[in-house]
């Protein structure tokens, strides 16, 4: 036991002290924030101010109506012209970004759509404002034609039926938030399994190809060696996540105090605040820790077994780990279905079976315990996951013991399974 602890300590410390750990821990949240901020920034930046020629045959789009609208919303400019521009007219192309021909219309019927002829392609952020402009002009025209006063106009403007889902048995389960948290939690578990699972595999391969394995197995049992590596690397993953959670809380508090000085930051803080209010945060964090560790043990031991069985060849490792990686990816597919229908059979089975439960259950839990996820399902899922990782750790230990001391032979899964069931 003490020796396992010494191994855990080494596995943990050598990784945490590495520059790559510090960099990736710091960089990931920054990248995350930059990505969200960047997307908003790019969307804002790519919005263009368009100058659009309008050729009106209906008589409704008068010079006056267009001028009024241009002063209300200057984010694009409409210009009334008499003739449609000719094809390949460079002059027109320079003056206008595009043109709209309005056919003769009857105001009672209107039209479904008009064609916006452009010389280049524009995003919906840019064309949307032109559309809105035309609609406002049309609305004013209708108001005048129907002789609606300001009162009636505001009644019309406000009359709109929206649909908001509300889970009446659990007020906390706000569906949109649940979807968001479910996706985030599921993907986080996915990343941990893939990234840290392959770290376990690489670590075992390193020990094998370095030929240090035989030196160490004369001091400790191979099983202790494998367990020490898995627990050590799991602790590294946990550390990284604790740092990120602290980071979120710090940003949250700074953002809350500094008010509105940082645009996207306060938006994020507001989002977190709303989320925290609407879901059971301690439950989700607790379950997250459980499923992340359980899933990690389940998969890391399999990856460890693969690492012990292969030689230096990276391709060999990849082909052996492919089925395991496929299980993780399949779990993500099940999760997508589970988020859409958290009480359906796929979601329920996916969250009970150990190989997919870490990802799928994390996507279901934000919908609410115990109404969307009954307590018996949560308990059974946790119990099965513990049983599952005990089996994979045992299985991997058997393979590891044989594999770590065997060189120069290409192995298959069939052979590895046979090792697990032969005496040693």
């Amino acid at each position: 036991m003490k020796k396992t602890w010494i191994i855990i300590e080494r596995e943990y410390l050598t990784r945490v002290r590495k520059k790559t750990f510090v960099i990736s821990t710091l960089l990931f949240p920054l990248l995350y924030v930059a990505l969200i901020g960047g997307m908003g920034f790019i969307a804002e930046k790519s919005k263009e101010t368009l100058t659009v020629a309008v050729i009106d045959s209906s008589g409704y789009f008068t010079q006056e109506a267009i001028a009024t609208e241009n002063t209300i919303d200057p984010s694009s400019t409409l210009v009334l012209v008499n003739n449609a521009p000719q094809e390949n007219n460079k002059e027109e192309e320079k003056k206008y970004d595009g043109y709209i021909i309005i056919p003769s219309l009857n105001w009672q019927q209107g039209t479904d759509s008009l064609i916006f002829n452009t010389y280049k392609s524009y995003g919906s952020a840019s064309t949307g404002v032109v559309e809105a402009k035309l609609n406002r002009i049309w609305r004013r025209l209708l108001n005048d034609s129907l002789q609606l006063d300001v009162n009636k106009q505001s009644i019309l403007a406000q009359s709109k039926i929206g649909l908001v889902t509300k889970n009446i048995s659990n007020q906390l389960a706000n569906s949109a938030t649940a979807v968001g948290i479910g996706y985030i939690a599921g993907f986080l578990v996915y990343f941990i399994l893939i990234i840290y699972g392959s770290q376990v595999m690489m670590g075992v391969m390193e020990e094998k190809t370095n030929r240090i394995a035989e030196v160490i197995v004369s001091s400790v049992r191979p099983f202790q060696m494998m367990l020490g590596k898995i627990v050590g690397i799991g602790a590294v993953a946990l550390t990284q996540f604790l740092i990120w959670i602290i980071f979120v809380f710090v940003v949250y508090n700074i953002g809350a105090k500094s008010g509105t000085s940082l645009g996207f930051m306060t938006e994020a803080v507001g989002g977190i605040q709303r989320m925290m209010g609407s879901v059971n945060v301690p439950l989700i964090l607790g379950c997250f820790a459980f499923y992340f560790l359980g899933g990690f043990f389940f998969y890391a031991s399999l990856y460890g077994a693969i690492g012990s069985a292969v030689n230096e060849d990276m391709r060999e490792a990849q082909s052996l780990s492919f089925p395991v990686t496929m299980l993780v990816i399949l779990s993500i597919a099940i999760m997508t279905a589970a988020v859409a229908n958290p009480t359906g059979p796929i979601a329920v089975w996916g969250s009970l079976i150990p190989f997919s439960s870490p990802i799928v259950m994390m996507a279901r839990i934000p919908y609410g315990v115990p109404d969307t996820v009954p307590l018996w399902q949560l308990g059974l899922s946790m119990g099965l996951l513990v049983a599952g990782f005990l089996v994979t750790v045992w299985f991997a230990g058997k393979i590891y013991r044989t594999g770590i001391l065997m060189y120069g032979k290409k192995v298959t899964w069939k052979e590895m399974i046979r090792w697990a069931f032969t005496k040693g």
Binding site: I6, N210, R211, I212, E214, V215, I216, S219, L405, M406
Partner: protein
């Protein structure tokens, strides 16, 4: 002398191979024991059972008089496998400290021991260097230090000199002698027979999973001697050989290589030579080298066994 390690009818069978097939051995305290055998003879499997890596299928191991308990006794064994390595990215000092702790030493004691060994081998400046910056020979020295650091009573060295220059080979050799002098027992496995003759007191030869030879180096040589003698002196070229109690294998100027029959001995030969007025400069029995014995005993083993399947 009491025996530190005694193996009784050890067997270890793998799926397609009897890797170790009924081997018994007694190794005495303070001995330097040579464990020899061709590739794939079962040496590594035997050693892995002694170091607790494998459990024997049958048979028993007694260590220091008691039944071998891998969990406890590995702390008293130092094993340097043939295929050995270290963590490349780890610092030399930390690496030694780590391996010592895995052998059960506590950190402070381990540190003191490492410092004294590093001092002995002139390695003090290596402490903060990374293992990947060491040359192969330097790594080998570090590996030796980590093997003997915890004062094991049984040290198992598999090809300890591979990759070492003559100076460092002598350094390690002297340490082996010193450790044996101080009471450690050393099992030494190698293919280099001249090293075995130089270092070992006792040898065992293993082939196809079985022990085919066991004894002191001198006894083994006596056992396999061809009864050949080399004589140098004046007058050897005019010997009347009709009555000689030996046959001549080869003759060159004033040297003679002879073969004595079973019914004769060296005294008869000498008496005959003196009667013939030969002026003898030297008279020496030719003992076979361990290399010759090794080849004689295992030379015809098919090499297919080299591809040992585990």
């Amino acid at each position: 002398m009491d025996s530190i390690l005694s193996l009784k009818h050890l067997k270890k069978h793998f799926e397609s191979q009897k890797a170790v097939d009924d081997i018994s051995l007694e190794i005495e305290r303070g001995q330097i024991f040579g464990l020899l055998g061709p590739n794939g003879a079962g040496k590594t499997t035997l050693i892995r059972m002694i170091t607790g890596i494998f459990y024997p299928d049958q048979g028993e191991i007694f260590f220091e008089g008691k039944k071998f308990d891998p969990l406890i006794d590995v702390a008293k064994i130092g094993y340097m496998p043939e295929e050995r390595g270290l963590y490349k990215k780890m610092k030399v000092g930390e690496q030694a400290l780590y391996l010592a702790q895995l052998k059960g030493l506590d950190k402070q004691a381990a540190k003191k021991k490492i410092e004294s060994w590093f001092h002995r081998f002139g390695m003090e400046s290596w402490w903060d260097k990374k293992v990947e910056d060491l040359s192969k020979g330097m790594g080998q020295k570090l590996q030796f230090v980590t093997t003997v650091l915890h004062d094991p009573s049984l040290i198992i060295l598999d090809e300890p000199f591979s990759g070492l220059d003559p100076v460092n080979t002598n350094l390690i050799k002297d340490e082996i002698f010193r450790l044996a002098q101080e009471g450690s027992t050393i099992i030494f496995s190698t293919h280099r027979m001249e090293q075995v003759e130089e270092i070992c007191d006792h040898i065992a030869l293993v082939n196809k999973g079985q022990k085919i030879l066991d004894g002191t180096v001198q006894d083994v040589k006596q056992q396999f001697k061809q009864h050949q003698y080399r004589i140098t002196g004046k007058g050897l070229d005019r010997l009347a050989l009709e009555q000689a109690p030996f046959s001549v294998v080869s003759q060159k100027d004033n040297a003679l290589l002879i073969q004595i029959g079973a019914q004769n001995n060296s005294s008869n030969v000498l008496r005959f030579l003196l009667d013939q007025q030969v002026e003898i400069n030297s008279f020496q029995e030719l003992l076979p080298s361990l290399n010759d014995i090794f080849i004689q005993l295992v030379g015809n083993t098919p090499t297919a066994r080299t591809f040992e399947k585990i």
